[in-house]
Symmetry: C2
Subunit: 341 residues, 2 copies
């Protein structure tokens, strides 16, 4: 075990697109756990689009980071010291940690990694078995509520959340159409995940025509991670009683203009569409149930998953910045350290 | 009874804001009813914002009018000839008719005017006791679902629908804040209708500050008839689990640009807001119940109503155009002929 540990803090608030200067690498001593705390050595760190919101000096569902604050994020890692009865050295856990090689965490807030899955894929706990998987689970089954025969459209379909949404919707009997940003991603959707159709939004000129072709019966439900012109196309083809889940709006996260409310809502009237923002945290009382389902689907092969892994803690900023370029297929994670077993 | 009758047809499709040339006045013979039909002499004609949509060559929830088509609209009038068993000459009815002095209507589609209310206010059947009243009823109680203690915001609050929404929300125990376009209207909201606060959006510079002042606990439900900057202010102050009913978007109806979907949806995420378009026609199976309630509330004084009356059939286009200038307080109707009693 090293005596020093590195961490990233918010170096400065980005104006528009974040860049390397947004992040500042610091080195310090490895902290000592106090009663109830656990020292976790990070094996994998999650980078997620919502973190862009915390870099802004504006209250939202997650508190903003101040310049100099250590940045938060989900981690999966190994207990290296424990002052909490429930945890022993050598166990693998996941939970909300920090962009740091070691995190002192409250033992009450950690979740064990299922030992039977440990060798399968530790980083899956940051994706399909973690917050993104639960976001997909509740966003699909509680907000979109697809019926058999419905057509479900998804933006950001090859990402951690979108790829899981599409597979859950398929399990529910829906036809699934996904937008993604490369031919490789479209192949992944169609060949590996069983989507009925994928649309490459970077090479397709007319989104409406492509969508009409891929979804000839219109759109009954739309899971939106992106916003912007893809959404314009989907909203133009909503069926009566359509549901829209607003999960993220990555196309707009770097817009520092005065925030306005939704514009151009007349298109909701004819289809009596329901558009709903949601936060996975509201479903906390049902997380265990969702975890069980997702684990079962992953184990029996009903749900495929993939992680894009950037190696090396020092490359975490690049992994984050790549989210806005669409670099990742599936969940973007950073490999910080090799698990010790 | 005259032998000739006047009617308006769509003269040409408007490009942007409609004007007098949008309408063409025609004169013809009074038609004869066939079996099952009733000839209704129009006393009052309704003009409504949704009619703008029917002037556009685009399918929506109401079929577009072709150039030369007689324009449709709700009427309240008197039976002057009947070939339908249910109706006798001299009875007052209301239903979907036309912009014409006489309409041949299917007797099965007409509704009787309650004789006890007839002297109270025939034009109320085009407002609080008609389609706008029912729109307010279902939009409030089924879409917004205000709880006691909630704050409800309304745009277009002094109009036929908005003024009824606010009063129903008050009856449900909510605090009600309305946006309207003149001091006279704001006084009407506050003094006559019992709104907790009114905001004159034509003289107020900072909508957000005014709204924060009028609704210090934030907005739990928003009934939107208008769209645009008023909505921006409301969306910035939504509470968790807020509901937004999209009834109309009069600020945008004359926009002939390429229709885009909703933009700027990130603001829905933190409050987990639900935005829903709705059409009153979907609640047809419960119209009778809504009618009963509304009639009771009007009769016992729980709900106030007002009609803005333009005199003379030939002035119907001006009455319609005035909707976009905010000329009306309460329901805008055209008085076509004096009832014969």
């Amino acid at each position: 075990m090293t005596d020093t540990s590195r961490q990233f803090v918010l170096g400065k608030r980005p104006d528009g697109k974040p860049d390397r200067d947004t992040f500042e690498l610091e080195k310090g001593d490895v902290p000592e756990p106090r009663h109830g705390e656990v020292l976790v050595r990070t094996c994998y760190l999650s980078v997620d689009p919502y973190m862009r919101g915390r870099m802004r000096d504006r209250d939202s569902y997650a508190d903003p980071w101040d310049v100099g604050d250590r940045m938060g994020g989900h981690v999966v890692g190994e207990v290296v010291e424990s002052e909490h009865d429930a945890w022993s050295v050598g166990e693998f856990v996941f939970g909300e940690g920090f962009w740091s090689e070691h995190s002192l965490l409250d033992g009450d807030d950690l979740t064990p990694v299922d030992p039977s899955l440990q060798n399968l894929s530790l980083p899956a706990y940051l994706g399909v078995l973690g917050m993104p998987g639960r976001t997909a689970y509740f966003g699909t089954l509680d907000v979109l509520e697809p019926d058999p025969g419905d057509t479900v459209a998804i933006s950001g379909a090859a990402g951690a959340v979108g790829s899981t949404v599409g597979q859950i919707a398929s399990l529910a009997g829906a036809r699934v159409v996904g937008f993604a940003g490369s031919d490789e991603k479209v192949d992944y959707l169609e060949d590996d995940l069983g989507f009925d159709a994928g649309i490459n939004y970077k090479t397709t000129e007319n989104y409406r025509a492509a969508l009409a072709d891929a979804a000839p019966n219109g759109i009954d439900a739309y899971f939106d991670n992106v916003g912007g012109p893809i959404s314009d196309a989907v909203f133009s083809q909503l069926n009566v009683d359509a549901r829209v889940a607003i999960c993220g709006q990555i196309a707009l996260y770097n817009d520092e203009g005065v925030p306005t409310g939704p514009r151009k809502l007349p298109q909701l009237i004819a289809p009596r569409a329901r558009v709903e923002g949601f936060l996975v945290g509201d479903y906390a009382t049902r997380f265990e149930h969702a975890n069980d389902r997702l684990r079962e689907w992953v184990t029996n092969g009903d749900i495929e998953h993939r992680e894009s892994i950037v190696e090396g803690f020092e490359n975490a900023p690049d992994a984050f910045l790549g989210l806005f370029e669409g670099d990742n297929i599936g969940k973007q994670v950073v490999k910080v350290a090799e698990p010790s077993e």
